[in-house]
């Protein structure tokens, strides 16, 4: 059962249905498209290194009067427990994504098996929460008064673990990528489900597991609302990076907006607009870093034909 075959050695060009000429035209069009799509992102980057005064005078502009790294400096010197927060974010993201996949993949596999008796029942069981939710208050009550998750890492990890949406995507992939016949054959050989799942299904499903992992990684990395709900202000040691950044943002906004309520000394206000953009860059930076690694996995999937043959 070699997963790779000689076919793999065909270059992408040979496999493609595009001729060289079509490829060139389509590529040019795509270049145009990504230029358009990335304009606002580019704007964010430029504003983050513009001087605040320039933004005040000219608004968000691709061509600011002057550049300044003040906003970045502010972030570096803000003295907010950033190191600890980065560690927390890594921990939460790693544990959450791994645990999530460990829970979602098996049930998706089970659901992808057409002769699984409880398939429809479990399917309905999974779809109901997608349609009905108890709402914020009851969720909060359950998590704090029944599960007692407040002020722990678990409060940031557990609630985001699974999603019916991803389970469906995994299930569809397993269904298409791994033909029923192959599993039947493996079962005739006496294979248990765990073996089949681990040895056959997971290896050929790397593209989908990695796609889901990618999205989960960023969901965890960028999530801050659970921290607001479940972490009290005297548990700052648990704050993830995004929550610290959101707080920073909010505190700049408050300083800027109701300075009149702060008695006495007029407080130094940091460059509000440009810091905001710096925080956005912080949020999308990990995507740029991780994506190339992820992208390697996306091409390894197209192999099952060999097994079948």
């Amino acid at each position: 059962m070699l997963p790779f075959s000689a076919e793999e050695e065909l270059t992408a060009e040979q496999k493609s249905a595009f001729s060289k000429k079509t490829n060139l035209i389509v590529s040019l069009l795509l270049v145009l498209l990504i230029l358009l799509v990335s304009l606002p992102v580019l704007l964010v980057l430029i504003v983050s290194v513009s001087s605040e005064q320039s933004v005040v005078n000219n608004g968000y502009s691709f061509f600011p009067d002057s550049f300044s790294l003040d906003a970045w400096r502010y972030l570096a010197h803000s003295g907010m427990y950033l190191a600890r927060a980065v560690f927390n974010s890594f921990l939460i993201t790693a544990v959450g994504t791994t645990l999530g996949l460990l829970i979602m993949c098996p049930i998706s596999y089970a659901l992808s098996r057409k002769n699984f008796r409880y398939r429809n029942g479990i399917m309905i069981f999974l779809i109901i929460p997608m349609l009905f939710s108890g709402g914020l208050v009851s969720t909060y009550m359950v998590n704090t008064q029944i599960l007692h998750l407040q002020n722990t890492y678990l409060a940031l990890i557990l609630p985001g673990l699974c999603s019916t949406w991803y389970i469906m995507i995994l299930r569809n992939y397993f269904q298409t990528a791994v033909p029923e016949a192959m599993i039947e054959a493996a079962m005739v050989d006496g294979g248990r489900q765990l073996q089949i799942f681990w040895r056959i299904v997971l290896p050929v499903s790397r593209p989908v597991t990695m796609t889901v992992a990618l999205f989960q990684i960023f969901a965890y990395w960028n999530s801050w609302y659970p921290s607001l709900l479940y972490l009290d202000s005297n548990h700052t040691e648990l704050f993830p990076l995004q929550y610290v950044l959101v707080n920073m943002q909010r505190s700049i906004d408050t300083l800027a907006n109701d300075a009149q309520y702060i008695s006495g000394m007029q407080v130094y206000t940091p460059p509000a607009v440009t810091v905001r953009m710096v925080l956005v860059v912080m949020a999308i930076l990990p995507i740029l870093i991780i994506f190339p690694f992820f992208h390697r996995f996306l091409k390894n999937g197209m192999t099952i034909g060999a097994v079948k043959g």
Partner: protein, 494 residues
């Protein structure tokens, strides 16, 4: 065989489900633990942006003092609005919580029985606290009982303009008086600046509208119904905003200014104008002697703050910040809470810890008895004074060694309330919203469709308000107005 297997599978599901439910219910029925005496008091206050960096250290320092003096410590939490609402809505345990007319609504919560009735306790256990608040207890009375502790701060709203004195007085030679004669009196200044800078917008305006522009009215249901302060009739009459000529005129003035180019064309969508320090005219709400608007180092010019109306005092303005003690507290816990607030209200040195931080690190005392914040204080412990205890018992802050605060500021401000204050004639009336809540909610949504553009002058009130009125009347406005008046009449009968 087959059937047996099937039922076995089902049994597994059933088993797991019932186990989960049992576990869950078990914890539900045991309820959640209540604070015991000598545990720190859980005191929840507000902060939009998380705790100040040195909060832990400062709270520990305050606890050292209070433990020694009265044997009570606190666990002070800074929570955002969302969290406070959720905490109240989920019945979570706390000892003290911030409550007010604008955040975590006091009247509504007190009516529902969320807070501890301290009418008797506060007089018998903490007479000094009872003494210090005096006539302002009235704003904390619900059905005659005291349900919260008002924080003594600026109790009335004094409306002012903040003008660039260097430009208007220095360059243009226009005098800036102590007091401007009303809302529109700022117009000459706007005009002068606009003539010099045709591309600029002289009046700072954000989507929230002019700061406190409705403070000259008592507002019900978020300002859809108003009660003017001075009226001819014995019993105050509530009216719709479109019937309040004074307010309509204000909207018209703003629109005229907008058309004249005094206000930024996108004002109704702008969050903040704070970063543009060149704007020469801004609105402000503060009190006499307030220095926070006037730091020339910050603005780059000298600021003068002529007031144009007020100070207005009403139940609403007096409820600016309060502390509610949880109804779930035991009597002993409630007494501890009161003792703690009493200490904050009577011991200035202790009060200054939660207000400004640790002496020598976050702030220093100046010779005249005011405090000056250090850079560490600015960076690591900046807290709005009204969030951590009575403002009047904290030392007054100075801007710098050159611009000193007046240590007797608060005595003067409170005297001012007696002599110049414009008092509401509703005598502590508050509107019980429960009967008409659906209507209010629906009206609120309608109002929000128009309000930002009205208060920023973007839209013409004579065009927009009739449209809004029609929609509001269709949603039951008259029914609400009648109910408000009915409650006012009943209040005055008693």
């Amino acid at each position: 065989m087959n059937i047996k297997k099937r039922s076995r599978g089902k049994n597994i599901i059933r088993g797991v489900l019932s186990l989960c439910i049992l576990l869950a219910l078990g914890t539900v029925f045991t309820g959640c633990g209540q604070g015991k005496q000598s545990d720190p008091l859980r005191w929840v206050t507000y902060s939009a942006s998380g705790p100040p960096l040195d909060a832990k250290e400062v709270i520990a320092a305050a606890n050292d003092v209070s433990r020694e003096k009265i044997g009570v410590t606190v666990d002070l939490e800074f929570q955002p609005t969302e969290k406070i609402n959720l905490m109240m809505a989920s019945g979570e345990y706390y000892d003290m919580v911030i409550t007010s007319s604008w955040l975590n609504p006091f009247d509504k919560n007190a009516e529902k029985g969320m807070y501890y009735d301290i009418t008797d306790l506060v007089q018998s256990e903490t007479p000094a606290l009872y003494e210090s608040i005096g006539k302002y207890w009235d704003c904390a009375r619900v059905n005659g009982r005291i349900m919260g502790i008002p924080i003594l701060k600026d109790m009335g709203a004094e409306q002012m303009y903040r003008l660039n004195a260097d430009y208007f007085e220095g360059q243009k030679g226009m005098a800036i008086p102590e007091r401007l004669d009303g809302f529109e009196a700022v117009e000459p200044y706007l005009k002068a600046y606009k003539e010099d800078h045709p591309d600029k917008y002289p009046l700072a305006m954000e989507k929230g509208g002019p700061a406190g522009y409705m403070n000259f009215l008592e507002r019900i249901a978020g300002g859809i119904i108003v009660i003017p302060y001075e009226q001819d009739s014995d019993i105050p009459q509530a009216e719709a905003i479109w019937d309040c000529e004074e307010l309509m005129d204000r909207f018209r003035t703003l629109h005229r200014w907008y058309e004249a180019g005094y206000i930024h064309p996108d004002a109704a969508t702008i969050d903040s104008t704070a970063s543009d320090r060149s704007i020469p005219v801004r609105f402000g709400v503060a009190w006499k002697g307030y220095l926070g608007y006037s730091d020339p180092d910050y603005w780059g010019f000298h600021v003068k703050t002529p007031s144009y109306e007020g100070p207005f005092l009403s139940r609403q303005s007096e409820q600016g910040s309060m502390i509610g003690i949880s109804a779930a507290c035991s009597r002993e816990r409630a007494i501890e809470c009161l003792k703690y607030i009493e200490l904050l209200s009577t011991d200035r040195k202790f009060r200054d810890i939660l207000a400004y931080g640790i002496e020598g690190k976050h702030f220093n005392y100046l010779e005249n008895g005011t405090v000056l914040t250090t850079q560490a204080g600015v960076d690591r412990y900046t807290v709005n004074l009204y969030l951590t205890g009575p403002v009047v018992n904290a030392s007054v802050a100075s801007i710098s060694r050159d611009i000193l605060g007046d240590p007797d500021q608060w005595e003067k401000v409170y005297e001012g309330y007696e002599t110049e204050g414009i008092y509401s004639q509703t005598r502590g009336f508050y509107y019980d919203t429960t009967r008409k809540e659906q209507i209010i909610t629906a009206l609120q949504a309608i109002y929000n469709d128009y309000s930002a553009e009205l208060r920023t002058g973007t839209s013409d009130p004579d065009v927009v308000i009739p449209k809004m009125r029609k929609r509001m009347e269709a949603a039951g406005f008259d029914e609400l107005l009648a109910d408000v008046q009915e409650q006012i009449d009943a209040w005055f009968e008693e």
